[in-house]
Amino acid sequence: MMTTYIETIRYYLPELFLSLQQSLLMLLIATAGAIFLGLPLGTLIYLSRKGVYRYSRLLAFFLNGYVDIVRSFPFLLLVVALIPLTRELIGTAFGTYAAAFPLAIVAVALYARLVEQVLLDVPEALLELANVLGASKKQLIFEFIYVEARSGLVLALTSVVISLVSYSTVMGVVGGGGIGDFAMRYGYQRYEYAVMYTAIGLMILFVSFIQIGGSFLAKKIDQKH
């Protein structure tokens, strides 16, 4: 039985590797989106809640709107609904890059909301101090808020990446491939349950690895506790 299992897996190995690469690519693009767009967006929502900007209320309304709309979409429907936009922006609505786009849209919204929540835990005293020391807005963000909230931000990003692993599994719909698609096509649909469970096992390992890595890093950079 063991030999049959090994043979089956060996048979599917090239497809498995390809699907892992596709998953990784989608996750990297979406995570980059979370960091470079979600973080500023979440920070902006937080600051506008604090009334730092002149048009704070209006700004908060639009930013919150984006986050809430994206988050309330059932993910599969979001992917389908975004097809015209994806085609416009990327030139195709099919393939791994095209699949990474809706994933990034979700990653930005998810991380923005979590960033806002993490920053709300930053003590008010810190804002008072920044004000008293005459810090600019940029300094307030980079020298005070991010410094004190950094481990929370890392933990929130870890959660987002783990959610993305789960979201990325349905990307077969738009030909995005990935490990989830591999499990469905080569495992479930071909009645090769060993292949399906292997893929699931790999995903569990991957997610555990991300969680352990994220928690370790968060603890390492936290000097407050």
Binding site: A125, L126, E128, L129, N131, V132, L133, G134, A135, S136, Q139, E143, F144, V147, E148, R150, I221, D222, Q223, K224, H225
Partner: protein, 242 residues
Amino acid sequence: MISFEHVSKHYAQKNSSLPALTNLTFSINDHEIFGVIGQSGSGKSTLLKLLNTLEVPDAGEIYMDGLALSQLTNQQRLRHRKRLGMIFQQFHLLGNLTVFQNVALPLKLAKIKNPEKVRQLLAFVHLKDKADAYPKQLSGGQQQRAAIARALVMDPEILLCDEPTSSLDGHHAAEIKTVLQEINQVFGTTMIVVSHELELIQQLCRRAAVLEEGRLRAVLEVKTTAKAATASYYQQIKEHLQ
């Protein structure tokens, strides 16, 4: 010289406005340690916020060396804040920065590199060996001394102290009193010490304003006691209990 001239400040509430300070007129001399005493809700914190230009008076004017604080442009306001140092009841140190980095923070904000100055101030507040420690590794008194070093790093002309010893026990509070006295003697810094602790005001200040429900009751000359702030913990307890 700082002078308050008929300063009033109200905070808007739902249907009414809550007076925080009403018609305050008094002045503080250069190099003086001036006390502001009152119960909570008497307007002490508002007074500090006005000095810091974090708030603007509704009526009246505060002059600092002849400059009207409510007339400052944004640029002038930032420059004004840099002339002031501030220490807080809860220290407000950044937990993820070392003591050295905390003290150097105002320099970093002003894009000045002067590690020697930071080291000198750490030595002044007796924290030289704690430069690489994080705030969580320090006692309350040590944290407040680090915060004092941070307040001094930009050579402030005026030091605002908001309940500087209220969250410290007797011995650590005495330490902070001593440091504040030394700052006044060595650097000639004008100090405004806001507190509800009569003893602190008595030991530190020569004059003190008494606030009651936002009104100035009087500016009193403080009778200084010879009680040494440097007395040991045991001596202080003995003095209090016997």
